[in-house]
């Protein structure tokens, strides 16, 4: 490809709309005559609803309806699962029975003519319960781990060689147990849905990373045809995975709207954002590594356990990275779930890998110390030539290039390996490094390309843009293929009327949607080629397909001597009607089976620790990634910086605490659920190594959203050890862990 648009640091095409407020988010699609629904959440963690005094509240000013299990419509809840729903179990059915499965479960909705009145009435609703004590801690004696019944592409248990024997024979070994706290996504924009029924047609303006699935899910819940549901979501104010699934509040908004016969807006409160919209599950892991004296891994045993709800088995790729990350003949990974009385967890940025790699990369660092070896050298000695888990080559793997470029840029050579050996004044300084990885996913996607009479293009996909810059990068792909200036391409997303896209998660939007757009643009060009060839008045009449080429939106004979025809001219010759093509694209299954496809990266962090008061602060961080072709370096950098900040949060701040007595999230509040502020993220540097991957997809892209979070937490915790000599195996690392150094 001789690239004109791809690879350019184009500013966000939607940037102006965002900063001027012209971009509308779900809750801003206010409808005439709109009413407001407020959810009443369970105040106990397990049990039954004993009574609900709806009558008292129904009389309050402005109240239009109070809906609970006592009067809610019986919903169809037809079977429906998409790739982002847990493979085993059944989703929460709202207001269908009197059972309380976890704290914060919706038990009623109050609908009123204004938000204030709905809130006031919701607070006045008296609900009594027969409560039991829930089990919300995976370490609780009553918590029972179990093997997940189904685990998608990777098995729950994986063994190669004889890891136990190899461990017993290992000259050096480490044995690490970790505990990563539950995190909630807490994007800026809360979950929000405006629902309105027009006869049997339901329209939802709803925050979603997956409008196609929201359409299908709500249709299944209500037992209506999919085409009766429309979902619209052009902009997302951050999501990090919490808007992949369709959660109960969407159903509640639709119930409310049907009940009162008006459009209804429902926005979750910040507190409710910790109840029924998923979270990164708490994980308990054990990582044992055996090695030879010269640092060759001989055994890895990775046992990981994640919490899930009682009604669904949420699984993530917690142990997946361990199977292929390093060369090692004897590996066992084991994944277990602990069902608890909590809402079902869900994918959160870097799902699985960010938790699993924390355990692996912490253990690798500890091993490096035991061996007296530089941690990068340890990784170099164990760099595999193929994916030893699957026994296939990598489509591309630039990990060593990442480490080399990163060490250079970061100044790793200045690090003195001895713990507590580096200081700046009275502060202890630590440098840590870790590997990051994330699979280069690509699920099937479709796209529509339409060329208009004026020669400009419209592209439509039911994709999403939660911040990475989908609008911009996809515009670049289409402009590139069509040979048009980016200003002549209009890209639309977030509408279930558009051709379906896969979930906007798993770092696959660039690969999946980008490939579909590329194919749709090529298809529409081919339609024009055929027209030109068939048209006796065209200079391309009767030309052979191979004799023609597109140059900057103009068709001409190869060699460039003949006259050219623009899109507008070919369309005009056909009567002027727009020409469009809709195509679906998936990764070639043969190639998918032949290669192991992942992005890799190396993360470097420098922290300071105040030895008196236990404050660990990141001073600078560098992420170096090999992620295939970078479509827009400006967006890619921003994407990675965001992920790295998420990693700082995971390492040092983020943690939803549950009260063991009733399962209540205690800090479901932005003042108490700590996320990094600007002062916590002083200097973040991102670098991409050149990586050409001819196998992943025709665009050669791998995705950056998840991998940029993955290596941060272990790099930070390794830096904490380097600074202080103290290993903390719990995240987040807080002041209380670093006192009395």
């Amino acid at each position: 490809m001789n690239l004109q648009a791809i690879g350019k640091p184009l500013a966000r095409v939607d940037g102006r709309a965002k900063v001027t407020g012209a971009a509308h988010y779900a809750a801003e699609f206010n409808q005439p005559n709109q009413a407001y629904a407020v959810i009443v959440s369970s105040s106990v963690g397990l049990g039954r609803i004993a009574s609900i005094d709806t009558a008292a509240v129904a009389r309050l000013p402005g109240v239009l309806a109070v809906v609970s299990h006592l009067n809610a419509p019986r919903l169809a809840y037809n079977p429906h699962k998409s790739g982002i729903d847990p493979p085993v179990g059944e989703r929460l059915h709202v207001l269908q029975d009197d059972l309380v499965r976890f704290y914060g479960q919706p038990v009623a909705i109050v609908v009123a003519d204004t938000l204030d009145r709905a809130e006031c009435a919701a607070a006045a609703l008296r609900v009594t319960y027969e409560a039991r004590k829930p089990v919300v801690d995976p370490r609780d004696k009553q918590a029972q781990p179990m093997a997940p019944a189904a685990y998608g592409p990777v098995e729950a248990d994986n063994v190669r060689g004889d890891p136990d024997a190899a461990l017993a024979a290992a000259a050096v070994s480490v044995d690490v147990s970790t505990d990563i706290g539950r995190q909630n996504h807490h994007p800026m924009e809360p979950h929000a849905t405006i629902a309105t029924w027009n006869g049997e047609q339901l329209t939802l303006w709803s925050k979603s990373q997956y409008v196609a699935n929201e359409q299908a899910e709500i249709a299944a819940v209500f037992g209506i045809p999919q085409q009766n549901v429309r979902v619209i979501c052009p902009f997302i104010g951050g999501a990090f995975g919490t808007s992949l699934r369709t959660w109960p509040h969407v159903t509640l908004a639709a119930i409310a709207s049907r009940q009162v016969g008006r459009p209804v807006k429902l926005v979750l409160t910040r507190r409710q954002m910790s109840y029924t919209t998923g979270h990164r599950p708490r994980t308990l892991q054990r990582m044992v590594i055996g090695a030879t004296r010269d640092g060759r891994l001989t055994s890895i045993i990775h046992e990981g356990m994640g919490e899930t709800s009682r009604y669904e088995n949420f699984v993530e790729s917690l142990t997946a990275g361990t199977d292929f990350m390093y060369s090692c003949p004897n590996v066992r990974t084991r994944y277990r779930l602990v069902p608890l009385d909590i809402g079902t967890p869900t994918y959160m940025r870097g799902p699985g890998e960010s938790s699993g790699m924390y355990a692996l990369e912490t253990a690798m660092d500890e091993l490096a110390y035991k061996l007296g070896m530089d941690p990068i050298e340890l990784r170099r000695r164990n760099e595999p030539t193929i994916d030893e888990g699957l026994n296939v080559p990598f489509s591309s793997r630039s990990l060593m290039q990442c480490y080399a470029a990163g060490a250079e840029r970061f100044g790793w050579a200045k690090r003195t390996p001895e713990p507590k050996s580096m200081r700046d004044g009275r502060l202890l300084i630590g440098m840590g490094t870790a590997t990051a990885t994330y699979p280069a996913l690509q699920f099937p996607s479709s796209a529509r390309a339409r060329l208009l009479a004026d020669g400009s293009a419209e592209i439509e996909v039911a994709a999403s843009d939660m911040g990475p810059g989908t609008y911009t990068s996809m515009t670049q792909v289409a402009a590139e293929i069509l040979g048009l200036p980016v200003g002549r391409v209009r890209f639309s997303l977030g509408n279930s009327d558009f051709p379906p896209a896969p979930p906007h998660g798993g770092s696959q939007t660039m690969a999946a949607v980008g490939s579909a757009i590329r194919a749709a643009c090529l298809a529409v060009q081919n339609m024009l080629v055929e027209r030109a060839i068939a048209n006796p008045r065209s200079p391309m009449h009767n030309a052979g397909l191979d004799a023609l080429e597109w140059v900057e939106g103009h068709l001409r004979r190869r060699g460039g001597i003949s006259a050219e025809q623009s899109y507008a001219e070919i369309i005009a010759a056909g009567g002027g009607a727009p020409v469009e093509a809709t195509v679906s694209v998936e990764r070639d299954p043969e190639i998918a089976a032949k290669y192991s496809m992942h992005a890799f990266g190396a993360v470097f962090v420098e922290i300071s620790v105040d030895p008196d008061v236990g404050l660990a602060r990141v001073r600078r961080a560098l992420g170096v990634y090999g992620a295939g072709r970078i479509v827009n370096p400006r967006l890619a950098r921003s994407q990675c910086v965001g992920g790295m900040i998420g990693g700082i949060g995971m390492a040092l701040m983020e943690h939803t605490s549950l009260d063991a007595r009733d399962g209540r999230p205690v800090n479901a509040h932005m003042a108490e659920y700590l996320l990094p502020v600007n002062l916590d993220i002083p200097q973040l540097d991102v670098h991409f190594v050149d990586e050409v991957d001819p196998h992943v997809n025709p665009l050669g892209v791998k995705g950056l959203g998840e991998i940029s979070l993955v290596g941060m937490a272990p790099a930070i915790s390794n830096a904490v050890f380097h600074a202080t000599g103290r290993r903390i195996h719990e995240l987040p690392i807080r002041i209380e862990h670093l006192l009395k150094l």
Binding site: S43, D116, E119, C120, A123, D610, D612, V613, G614, L615, R617, L652, M653, S657, D659, R661, R664, V666, N667, H669, A671, E672, L674, L675, P676, V677, N678, L679, D680, P732, R734, I735, E736, L739, K740
Partner: protein, 325 residues
């Protein structure tokens, strides 16, 4: 939110009358409105005092007189405050966020309510919110709670940073109520929870804070506020300390220390101050003195680390104060 009426007042006497009749003052609203949204506070009538003439910040001799309606931002940025009592500036800037500080007032700051998470959740037992309902924190999450001045009824920390600095500096406050005006040390505004944690301060019904007065002293120049917390800004103190030192020839003549994040009210550390007087301003002295701050401290399941962090914070704050150039 529960419906309420709002009365804007332009006259101090009128405002006091309205509050005495059951109205509730509202200044910046950053504490009050927040809690009204959670329905923890349910005032039926608000008396908006923002138009009252209490926005002046002046200097009488070396004493700062800070009107109750001066915003946190304005107070922190004021040249006289920075010159005479830099520790007040520092305590303010370390608090909340710029947006909040632009709205929040000095009077409101002193009367802000606790950050105990259970206090803010209507479905949790809380003696402070609902007297005699119980305290969810004592056997629950209490990592952020107090180790000093607690009772079996309540262990919530008083969250104000400003109050810590003011108490270290022996500031006084002037209030006016239906029975006239009175002045008293800021420290006497606060009450220990005892068996009545719902009564947080010593103001009488209708009493309006007029201003806060901060006398100067030789210690004022060497004064620092150290706020220790897990994120670098926009978080309440895990532990904080205001420290002021009057040092002559390496010997401490007078020391002032007050701490936040550890007490059910901002906590003056008098035993530590006494132990410093007449001693060299070195780390060993600071460490000895800081240990005295733990007298009577009682840790719970989650906050035992404050037994280490409190003395460490005091030592660092003293070092920072000593090293002011």
């Amino acid at each position: 939110m529960i419906p309420f009426s709002l009365q804007k007042s332009t006259d101090v006497g009128e405002a006091i009358a309205a509050a005495t009749a059951g109205g509730r003052y509202i200044a910046g609203g950053t504490t009050l409105v927040d809690l009204m949204r959670d329905e923890v506070e349910r005032p039926g009538r608000l008396v908006d005092i923002n138009a009252l003439p209490l926005k002046r910040l002046q200097t009488v001799g070396d004493t700062l007189v800070i009107g109750a309606l001066v915003t946190m931002s304005d107070c922190a940025a004021h040249a006289d405050v920075q010159r005479l009592q830099p520790v007040i500036s520092e305590s303010l800037v370390e608090g909340a966020s710029p947006q909040l500080r632009n709205l929040a007032t000095i009077g409101g700051n002193l009367l802000q309510r606790v950050r105990c998470p259970y206090f803010r959740m209507l479905d949790a037992a809380c003696n402070k919110r609902d007297p005699n309902s119980g305290c969810s924190a004592i056997d629950g999450f209490n990592g952020g709670h107090a180790i000093l001045g607690t009772s079996s009824s309540c262990i919530a920390v008083h969250p104000s940073d400003l109050a810590v600095a003011l108490i270290a500096l022996d500031a006084t406050m002037r209030v006016r109520g239906p029975n006239g005006e009175r002045s008293f040390p800021v420290e006497e505004l606060f009450r220990l929870p005892g068996t009545t944690p719902h009564i947080e301060h010593t103001l009488q019904p209708g009493e309006l804070i007029i201003d806060v007065r901060v006398p100067s002293g030789r210690y004022a120049r060497r004064a620092r506020y150290l706020k220790v917390r897990d994120r670098s800004s926009y978080e309440f103190a895990v532990v904080s300390a205001a420290a002021a030192l009057d040092i002559e020839n390496g010997t401490i003549r007078e020391a002032r220390i007050a701490c936040g994040g550890v007490g059910t009210m901002p906590w003056r550390m008098r035993a530590s101050e006494k132990a410093l007087a007449g001693r060299p301003a070195d780390r060993a002295t600071f460490e000895q003195a800081a240990r005295l701050a733990l007298a009577g401290a009682q840790a719970r399941s989650g906050n035992a680390f404050k037994m280490d962090l409190l003395p460490a914070t005091i030592v660092r704050a003293l070092e920072l104060a000593r090293d002011v150039s």
